[in-house]
């Protein structure tokens, strides 16, 4: 397209174009269309904490503590352009949060710090000033073993500005661990048939035996190797086959007879491990009898796991001498895979 303009009109056209270009400026300067309002000036005076350096390598591993808590200390340095007093607690409400998390959001296991202490290292000519925090997180014995426990450190300064570092992971090792004790009575770890009479059948032990899983491994089998009970101060014996064990509260049934070979204690239909398909009695890990209020949901029925009851019965053969008998039996828990 060609636009031809006469020379005499060129000046007028140029002036018109300049005017059009300056219309918005003129409009704003003369106040046409201006609305009354309040000018707002935002002055950001606080800067978020920066440079959270976690002093732990990804390869670091920790052992769970049998039946207890393992305190894991996370050490990290924090600096803040507004001054170290802004994060070390002297300027107000500064705080830190250290979380460990594992797994997908819906069933994630997590732990939060129980205590944090800090030390301030002011700047020197060669080094920037930092606040070093040491925060302790208590991991419980039943928390899952994994190399993917994520460390999440959040620092909130005195003015509410925050920074996060979630770049580090650590390994929580495996722990195969259990205890054995008489259930509900202070009888130690022994099975006691006191009160049984000669010729009596299906006589239950004074208290069942309780196995507590005090680690984070699952046991797929419980094997029991028995021995004849031997008369204390005498030569009589009660054959091991007179004793039986099961995992139900069925006082009318003896369960499976013991032997001097390793006996794998059977489960009951639908209640074995491995989603009910394991025919053996199992000892899965979980908070069970710990009395803990576990902060995370975990997998289905996880919170009820962690213990197994063994019920013992005896038939006292007629002709057995009235006396005290004892011996030692071997109990092995097996983690197959």
């Amino acid at each position: 397209m060609i636009i031809s303009i006469k020379k005499r009109d060129l000046l007028i056209v140029t002036a018109a174009l300049v005017l059009i270009i300056f219309v918005p400026f003129i409009y704003s300067q003369v106040g046409l269309g201006a609305k009354a309002g309040v000018g707002v000036w935002v002055v950001i005076s606080n800067q978020n904490p920066v440079n959270i350096t976690i002093n732990i390598s990804n390869a670091q591993a920790f052992d769970p503590k049998s039946g207890g808590s393992q305190g894991i200390v996370i050490s990290f340095n924090v600096s803040d352009p507004d001054g170290l007093g802004n994060v070390n607690g002297t300027d107000g409400n500064a705080r830190v949060i250290v979380n460990f998390t594992l797994g997908t959001r819906d069933i994630a296991q997590f732990r939060t710090h129980t205590i944090c202490v800090n030390t301030t290292y002011p700047a020197t000519p060669t080094a920037r000033g930092v606040v070093m925090f040491n925060c302790t997180v208590n991991m419980r014995y039943y928390d899952n073993n994994s190399a993917s426990w994520a460390i999440n450190v959040t620092v909130i300064d005195a003015n509410g500005g925050s920074a996060t570092n979630d770049t580090r992971v650590f390994t929580y090792n495996s722990l195969a661990s259990f205890t054995i004790t008489a259930r509900d009575v202070a009888d130690g770890a022994q099975v006691n048939f006191s009160g049984a009479s000669v010729g009596q059948n299906n006589f239950p032990a004074k208290a069942p035996i309780l196995l507590n899983n005090t680690g984070n491994n699952d046991f797929d089998q419980i094997n029991l190797t028995g021995a004849n009970l031997v008369q204390v101060g005498g030569a009589s014996e009660i054959a091991i086959s007179s004793f039986a064990v099961n995992i139900t509260n069925n006082t009318n049934g003896q369960g499976i007879p013991l032997s001097t070979g390793a006996l794998t204690i059977p489960g009951i239909p639908g209640m074995g491990g491995s989603d009910g398909v394991n025919p053996n009695a199992t000892l899965m890990h979980g908070p069970g009898v710990s009395g803990d209020t576990v902060p995370y949901p975990g997998n289905a029925d996880f919170k009820s796991k962690g213990n197994q009851t063994l019920l013992f019965f005896v038939d006292i053969p007629s002709g057995t001498a009235a006396a005290t008998y004892n011996n030692t039996w071997n109990l092995t828990v097996v983690d197959i895979d």
């Binding site: 052992d63 929580y172 661990s177 054995i180 009888d187 130690g188 770890a189 022994q190 006691n192 109990l331």
Partner: protein, 177 residues
């Protein structure tokens, strides 16, 4: 005074009985899927720690499958102080790679040798644990698949015979001319 002493003795005895649980524990290095992957011929250290959570010292022994594992500075018996642990390291060595048989199981058992004092039938406890050893083919070694070689030879022989046959036919045709 005598009554008070008797009361204290009974209290101490009761406490001892209430702590009288058998306990054994083995902490071990974490392995993804409980499996150690090793290139054939390579070795790696795998560590276990036997813990004694009881308030008294305990004795334990460890048995293990020796085919691929060898314990370092192994002792017949370990004394584990109360509330403490003892470390044992195994040197695991992968055998030669075999396509059909490259996943092995290594088991170890910690046996408690002492039980808490007391009358009645007591238990000695033990824990048996297994890890898997996955042997991986070494990229530096030449692996001869004998079956494939045999198939290859058969194929070459067949091709050779077909070629000979065809050459013989051609010669025969030429001879007729």
């Amino acid at each position: 005074m005598r009554g008070l002493i008797l009361f204290l003795m009974i209290l101490v005895l009761s406490s001892a009985l209430s702590l009288n649980a058998e306990a054994i524990a083995i902490a071990s290095d974490y392995l993804e899927s409980n499996t150690m992957e090793l290139i054939e011929g390579d070795s790696r250290i795998y560590g276990i720690r036997i813990q004694n959570p009881d308030p008294a010292d305990s004795r334990a022994k460890v048995t293990y499958d020796m085919e691929f594992a060898k314990a370092i500075e192994f002792q017949e018996e370990y004394i584990i102080p109360a509330g403490s642990s003892v470390a044992i390291q195994f040197n695991i060595t992968a055998p030669k790679y075999n396509k059909k048989d490259n996943l092995f199981s290594i088991g170890f058992t910690a046996h408690q040798l002492t039980h808490a004092p007391g009358a009645g039938t007591q238990f000695l406890t033990s824990i048996h644990k297994k890890i898997k050893l996955q042997v991986v083919k070494s990229p530096d070694r030449l692996h001869v698949d004998y079956l494939s070689v045999a198939y290859g030879i058969i194929l070459i022989v067949v091709i050779f015979f077909l070629y000979k046959k065809r050459t013989a036919k051609k010669r025969a045709k030429k001879g007729f001319r």
